[in-house]
């Protein structure tokens, strides 16, 4: 988690460099991601931000969905590498569509019960609502949104958390006290 901002800066820098390089030649570009190419990452980001779109709360991309999926595809989810590699080229145009067009395309994929839709939907949900330890849910974005605190520290049993008058308003989740 701590290295994420650095990595993101590096990503942006590299992405810009890669974009410049792509104007001159194709192939052989280095990706800042573990698994995704620069193009694949852009497509996944576009998909993720329609699956959990940004509004008054962060969307999937701001909560590091691409980082989560990229990292897990080189880890416990590596059996899905092929599914991403095969499905993403056909969606290369997705990032260029308007949000309404993107939603229409995703709805069509859902209606056709496309396995890749189910896969990426589930992975984005994992990234957004799961434990931040795995590279998504950046800064507890979804848990803040739902007003559920992060894991308590030892010693919580010493405090009366079940007394009368306690509501979600009066009980301050610990992440709020960090300021």
């Amino acid at each position: 988690m701590k290295s994420t901002p650095v990595r993101r800066r590096k990503f942006l820098k590299t992405a810009v460099a890669a974009a410049a390089a792509s104007a001159a030649s194709c192939g052989g570009r280095s990706s800042p991601w573990r698994f995704f190419t620069v193009e694949e990452a852009a497509t996944v980001a576009a998909l993720a931000d329609r699956i959990v779109p940004p509004d008054q709360d962060p969307g999937a991309v701001a909560a590091d969905a691409v980082n989560y999926i990229d990292r897990q595809l080189e880890g416990p989810l590596k059996k899905y590498q092929r599914a991403y590699r095969e499905a993403l080229p056909a969606l290369a145009h997705f990032a260029d569509l308007t949000p309404a067009q993107q939603d229409a395309q995703l709805s069509a994929m859902e209606a056709r019960r496309e396995p890749f839709f189910e896969l990426v939907r589930d992975h984005v949900m994992q990234s957004f609502y799961g434990d931040p330890r795995h590279g998504g849910n950046r800064e507890y974005a979804s848990w803040r949104m739902l007003d559920v605190p992060p894991a308590p520290i030892r010693g919580r049993q010493l405090y009366d958390l079940s007394g009368e008058g306690m509501t979600s308003r009066t009980r301050r989740p610990t992440w709020r006290s960090k300021g």
Partner: protein, 549 residues
Amino acid sequence: MALQRVNAVVVGAGAGGGIVAKELAEAGLSVVLLERGKWLTAFDDRKDDLRNQRNSTLGTGSGPDEEKNPRVFVDQAAKEHIVSANEGAYQNNAACVGGGTFSYGAMAWRYMEKDFRMRSTYGAMPGSTLEDWPISYDDLEPFYEKAEWEIGVSGNVTPDPFHAPRRKRLPMPPLDPNREYFVLKPAAERLGLHPFDIPMLRNSVPYNGRGPCMRCRWCVGFACEVDAKNGTQNTVIPIALSSKRCEMRTGCIAKEILTASSGRVTGVAYFDADHRLQEQPADVVVVSAGAIETARLLLNSKSRMHPNGLGNRYDWVGRNLQGHTYVGATGVFDEAVYDDIGPGASIAICDFNHGNPGLAGGGLLANEFIRLPYQFANMTPPGVPRWGKGHKDFMRRAYRRHIAIRGPVQEMPVFESRVQADPKVRDHWDIPVARLSGLSHPHNVEVGQFLAEKAAAWLREAGATLVWKSMPARYLSAGQHQAGTCRMGLDPKTSVVDKHCRVHDHDNLYAIDASVHVTNGGFNPALTIMAVAYYASDGIKRAWKGKAQ
């Protein structure tokens, strides 16, 4: 190479095996307790929404290792799938000291009297091997009590008019109620139901030298960070080890049960943590590896005298694999009902375990353990989008305002739902893996529909403005409640073990875990596994004529 002979070797340090090891060691027998997993701590199995025994998206929290322990699942189209421990079709329980009790939700149910007499109560069921247990609730009652006091149960079942007769109260009071409890209790009473605090193998007050529950939301599926959840790993196993007569060996994979040319069981061959093949001779062998692995070990123990495996003369080992079909309903309220006070599950009714018109059996209903955000993201009602702005809006609106009620359907055992030793696929130790196939009985669906409707009615009465049911389906059901594969019975032709959990035809081989359950109750089975383990240990001690070594 043969190791020094001991009186008893127990395979599996879970709910059953941990108790057997302690009981036999305390009685003076020398015991070796083999466990394939490790002795984990809460640091090894952290509060991780994506990696735990309940949600193994990124791996299991307490084993087994996904790479080394495949299984084969055969679907209804007869297609074989090689599955790993973090996939649903694997029917995983756990692989660690304590077994499932290390990470379970820890509901502490006694089965009811009728749960041991399902065939007598409801008659024969077409397509099912439904049968009575050869022992009764009364036979187990003292051992239920022993489990409640030695392992440690909190709760108060007095308001439940349906509970079976008991001599002693529970040793600890229930945990303080959470907010869901206060919403659901008056509603159940208005409906004429009988709600009460769920009995839990969890400390509500200091007990057995450990403190009470810290009320966090990472409970079912997780290790307890403050060790307030009572399993065999923090109760009977330490007692067994402190007796100096029990040695526990972790990281040990049982390969087969050894027999002499006479057919008599002589010990266990296993791979130790350094992958060396060892032979542990013993006077008594107890298999407590869980319904799937116990059956697999018996089936893999082939010899000239037992070409189809031990206890399998009549092809009953591995049959009747069952668990629980879970059903219920979810409701969204106008007000927040979420208070982040774990474990979440707090209130239950047993009004629908039996006596349901036209149905055989039923199940308890209780509010569900806390639904972590990622779990709830996949619990949307019909008509709510599964993604996009609509889904996010629903999460914001409903997460803190929803209650889920769930219950386990007492399943009708099916002969064709089974564990076999796979003829081709082998694990990391070159041992044939478990091959799972079959489908649960259609009557489970009928009972499940009935229970789901009752759950929905309870939520509506409590004031939920949006209620949807989670409907049952037919699937191979085993998982953490896996049971039935070494049925207890009087007739060796239609069962695997006798009423003392002793494998027919072998006076020194026992199966002591949920595999002996003839039927699995409309309840979480852990306390019954423990009671049966105390009961069967008592039998071993009575039958013991050998010399302590």
